[in-house]
C-alpha cells in the first residue's frame, strides 16, 4: 500500500550556546494508510523533534532542517507556506503532545480552544461547534463537560489536560494522528479507554497513527510496526513481533531487559543500560550506542554502521554485529 507519510533522510539541528545540537541525524521511515507505528527510544533521541518537524512546529531559529524531505500525501511538507501548513495542521494531521501545557493556551478556556479549530477549519457555527466540543470532551472521558468547557487549563489535572488536548486533536478527524506520549500522564483504565478510542479511529476511518511512547506494553497492544531511535537516528525497525521476540540491536535488547515485570521477584534490582546517551553537540563519529554497548567492537568506535536488513521480514538494524565480517570473527 502507498505510504501516506514518507520521511527521507531528515536532519534537524538546533543552534545552541555551545554550538549545533544535532537532534535528528538522517531519519528515514514511512507510514502506510491505516497503519499504526510506534516510535520508541531513548529519552533525548529525537522522537519529539521528528514529530514536531513533521508538523513544522519547531521555532526557527533556533531549529533548522539541514537536509531531507517529509512527503505527506504527495507533498513535501517542508516546502509548504505557513498558511498551507496551518490548514494541514487543522485538517489533515492531528497531534497530541507530550506536554499538554505547551500546546494548550493558558489564557483561553478549554471550550474556546476546541471550538476554535472547528469553526475555522470545519466551517461550523458557534453552536454546532459547542455541541461537538462537549461530545468530544465526553468521548475522552472528562466528567461534567458543561462545567469543564468554561474552565482554564490550570483548573485541570495533568491527565485531564492531556484528554482535553486529545479532544482537540481528534476534532478534525485527521488522516494522520501523531501522538507523542499521549497517555503518559494517565492511569491505565483511562489509558485503555483512550487507546481504544485511537484504535477505533484507525479502524473506522483508516487513520494512520504514529505513536511515540515509552510504554512497551502499549506498543504491544496498539501498533503494527516499531521504530527504535537512539542518538538522533533510527537503529532498528520491524514488526512488533520481531522487535519483541527477536530484537537485533543491542540497544533494543537492553531496553526490553530493563523493564520491570509484574512477575519479577521482589528485591531484584532492575537491569538498566549503564551510561548516558551521547552528547548531540558532538555526536560520536562511529555507532551512537558504542559507549554503552556491551558488545562493542573496534570498528564501532570510528565507523557508523548502516541501517540494513536483518532477521524478520522488513526488519532492519543499524549495527556492525550483523555485518558478515563480524559473524566470521565471532564464529
Amino acid at each position: 500500500m502507498e505510504p501516506i507519510l514518507r520521511v527521507n533522510d531528515l536532519h534537524v539541528s538546533f543552534r545552541a550556546r555551545g554550538g549545533e545540537v544535532q537532534a535528528v541525524r538522517g531519519v528515514n521511515f514511512e507510514v502506510k494508510k491505516g497503519e499504526a507505528i510506534a516510535i520508541v527510544g531513548e529519552s533525548g533521541s529525537g522522537k519529539s523533534v521528528t514529530a514536531q518537524s513533521i508538523m513544522r512546529l519547531l521555532p526557527s531559529p533556533p531549529s533548522f532542517v539541514k537536509q531531507g524531505t517529509i512527503e505527506f500525501m504527495g507533498r513535501n511538507l517542508l516546502e509548504l507556506s505557513e498558511q498551507e501548513m496551518e490548514s494541514v495542521r487543522g485538517k489533515d494531521i492531528g497531534m497530541i503532545f507530550q506536554d499538554p501545557m505547551t500546546s494548550l493556551n493558558p489564557t483561553m478556556t478549554i471550550g474556546h480552544q476546541i471550538t476554535e479549530g472547528l469553526i475555522k477549519h470545519q466551517g461550523m457555527d458557534r453552536k454546532a461547534a459547542r455541541e461537538r466540543a462537549l461530545e468530544l470532551l465526553r468521548l475522552v472521558g472528562i466528567p461534567n463537560p458543561d462545567t469543564r468547557f468554561g474552565q482554564y487549563p490550570h483548573n485541570f489535572s495533568g491527565g485531564m489536560r492531556q484528554r482535553a488536548m486529545i479532544a482537540i486533536a481528534l476534532s478534525c478527524n485527521p488522516a494522520l494522528l501523531i501522538a507523542d506520549e499521549p497517555t503518559t500522564a494517565l492511569d491505565v483504565t483511562i489509558q485503555a479507554q483512550i487507546l481504544r478510542l485511537m484504535k477505533d479511529l484507525q479502524e473506522r476511518f483508516g487513520t494512520s497513527i504514529i505513536l511515540i511512547t515509552h510504554d512497551l506494553g502499549v506498543v504491544a497492544d496498539m501498533c503494527d510496526r516499531v521504530i527504535v531511535m537512539y542518538g538522533g537516528q533510527v537503529v532498528e525497525t520491524g514488526s512488533k513481533w520481531d522487535i519483541f521476540r527477536h530484537p537485533q540491536h543491542p540497544y533494543t535488547r537492553g531496553l526490553l531487559r530493563s523493564m520491570p515485570r509484574l512477575d519479577q521477584p521482589k528485591g531484584e534490582p532492575l537491569i538498566p543500560i549503564h551510561g548516558t546517551p551521547p552528547d548531540l553537540l558532538v555526536p560520536p563519529q562511529g555507532c551512537a550506542f558504542c559507549a554503552r554497548c556491551e558488545e562493542a567492537m573496534e570498528v564501532c568506535v570510528d565507523h557508523d554502521p548502516e541501517l540494513a536488513p536483518v532477521g524478520g521480514e522488513g526488519q532492519t538494524a543499524k549495527c556492525w554485529l550483523h555485518h558478515p565480517f563480524a559473524k566470521e570473527v565471532q564464529a
Partner: protein
C-alpha cells in the same frame, strides 16, 4: 520525639507501615478547591495514611483522583482544608519561621511536570543549586559547582550540561534535573510525583535503582506516586489506591497485586499493558463503563459505584467504610 506506631483516631486504627515508627502521619486530610458558582471541588477528601521511616509507599489511582494534590498538601505547598499531617510528630501546618524552614529541608518533592517545574531563565547549575542557596548551604562557589556536578552525575547527566538551559533538554533529561534538585538538600522524605513517567525505560531503571540505593544509604522515605503499576510494585513496600479523592485500598504490595479486594483495583490491574504482543492479543480486560464521577459533586455512597460492575442499592445509599479486611490489607467496599 517518638511516636507510637499505631495511633488511635475517631475511625479506629489507621493503617501503618510494617517496620519502624511512622515518619509521616496523614490524618483525615482534605483539600478542597473553590471552582466558582459557590461549588467546591473535593480533590482530597478525608485521607489518612502513615509512612514508616525508610518505607516506600506507592500511590496509584485514576488521573484526577487527587494524588498530586495529596502530595502537595502533605508537603504544605497547599494549605489543607481540614486535617493534619504530622512529620516526626509535629503538625506541619502549625510550623512557622525557623521550624518551617527546617521542614523545607527535610522534605522534598520531585514533580510530575518536568516542564513547568524548571525556571526557563535559570541555567542548570542555578536550578540545581537553588535549594542550596535558599538554605545557605551551597558553600564557596567552587564547592557549589562541585556539588552540582556530583548531583548531575548521580542522575545520569553530564557535567558539561551544567551551563545549559532547560529548553535545551528533552523531557526525560529535564526530569533528571528535577531529581538532582530535590536531592540537593539531602532530605529525609521525598514525595516523588510521577518522577519517571517521562523517562526512557532504560533510564527509568537507572533512576529507580538510584532512588532505591539512595533510600538504603541515606535512609530516605518515599511517597511514590506513579501510573506504571509494574514499577510501583517493584519499588513500593505498600501500595495505596486512590479514587476520587479517597483511599479505596491499601496493602503490602505483593498482596495487593495477588489479591486485589476492591473492584476498582481489580479493573486497574487487569488494564496493565504487558510488553508482550502474544499476551496482549489474548488478554481479557475488565473494561469499565459508566460515567466518570466528578469531584465537584461526587456520587452518594460509594464513589466508585457509577462504574462498578458489582454495585448494588446499598452502594448508593451508604459510603463503605475503609476497613481492614485481612491482616494489613485495607479496602473500602461493602463486599470486599
Amino acid at each position: 520525639m517518638s511516636v507510637s506506631t499505631v495511633t488511635k483516631t475517631e475511625n479506629g486504627f489507621r493503617p501503618t507501615g510494617a517496620s519502624g515508627g511512622p515518619l509521616l502521619e496523614v490524618d483525615r486530610l482534605s483539600k478542597f478547591f473553590p471552582v466558582g458558582g459557590g461549588q467546591t471541588l473535593k480533590a482530597v477528601n478525608d485521607l489518612s495514611l502513615t509512612v514508616a521511616k525508610g518505607e516506600t509507599l506507592g500511590v496509584v489511582g485514576e488521573s484526577g483522583c487527587g494524588k498530586s494534590t495529596a502530595g502537595r498538601t502533605i508537603m504544605r505547598l497547599y494549605e489543607p482544608t481540614a486535617g493534619e499531617t504530622r512529620f516526626e510528630g509535629r503538625n506541619i501546618y502549625k510550623l512557622k519561621g525557623a521550624e518551617l524552614k527546617k521542614l523545607r529541608r527535610e522534605m522534598a518533592m520531585i514533580f510530575q511536570d518536568p516542564y513547568a517545574s524548571l525556571n526557563p531563565r535559570f541555567n542548570i547549575t542555578d536550578i540545581i543549586a537553588e535549594p542550596l542557596d535558599i538554605h545557605g548551604i551551597a558553600g564557596s562557589s567552587k564547592e557549589r559547582k562541585r556539588k552540582v556536578e556530583e548531583l548531575l552525575e548521580l542522575v545520569g547527566l553530564r557535567p558539561e550540561h551544567a551551563n545549559r538551559y532547560p529548553h535545551e533538554f528533552s523531557g526525560g533529561q529535564r526530569q533528571r534535573i528535577g531529581i538532582a534538585r530535590a536531592l540537593a538538600v539531602r532530605p529525609k522524605f521525598i514525595v516523588c510525583d510521577e518522577p519517571i513517567s517521562a523517562l526512557d525505560v532504560s533510564i527509568q531503571a537507572q533512576v529507580v535503582n538510584l532512588l532505591q540505593e539512595l533510600q538504603k544509604s541515606l535512609g530516605l522515605t518515599y511517597l511514590f506516586i506513579a501510573h506504571d503499576l509494574s514499577m510501583v510494585k517493584h519499588i513500593s513496600d505498600r501500595v495505596a489506591v486512590m479514587y476520587l479523592g479517597k483511599m479505596v485500598e491499601l496493602a503490602e504490595s505483593s498482596e495487593l497485586y495477588a489479591n486485589p479486594k476492591h473492584p476498582y483495583t481489580q479493573a486497574l490491574l487487569s488494564a496493565i499493558p504487558i510488553p508482550d504482543p502474544q499476551i496482549e492479543a489474548q488478554k481479557e480486560r475488565i473494561v469499565l463503563s459508566g460515567d466518570l464521577p466528578s469531584p465537584i459533586n461526587p456520587p452518594s455512597g460509594c464513589p466508585f459505584r457509577t462504574r462498578c460492575p458489582h454495585a448494588t442499592e446499598k452502594c448508593a445509599a451508604e459510603a463503605p467504610e475503609f476497613r481492614e479486611v485481612k491482616d494489613g490489607h485495607w479496602a473500602a467496599c461493602h463486599y470486599a
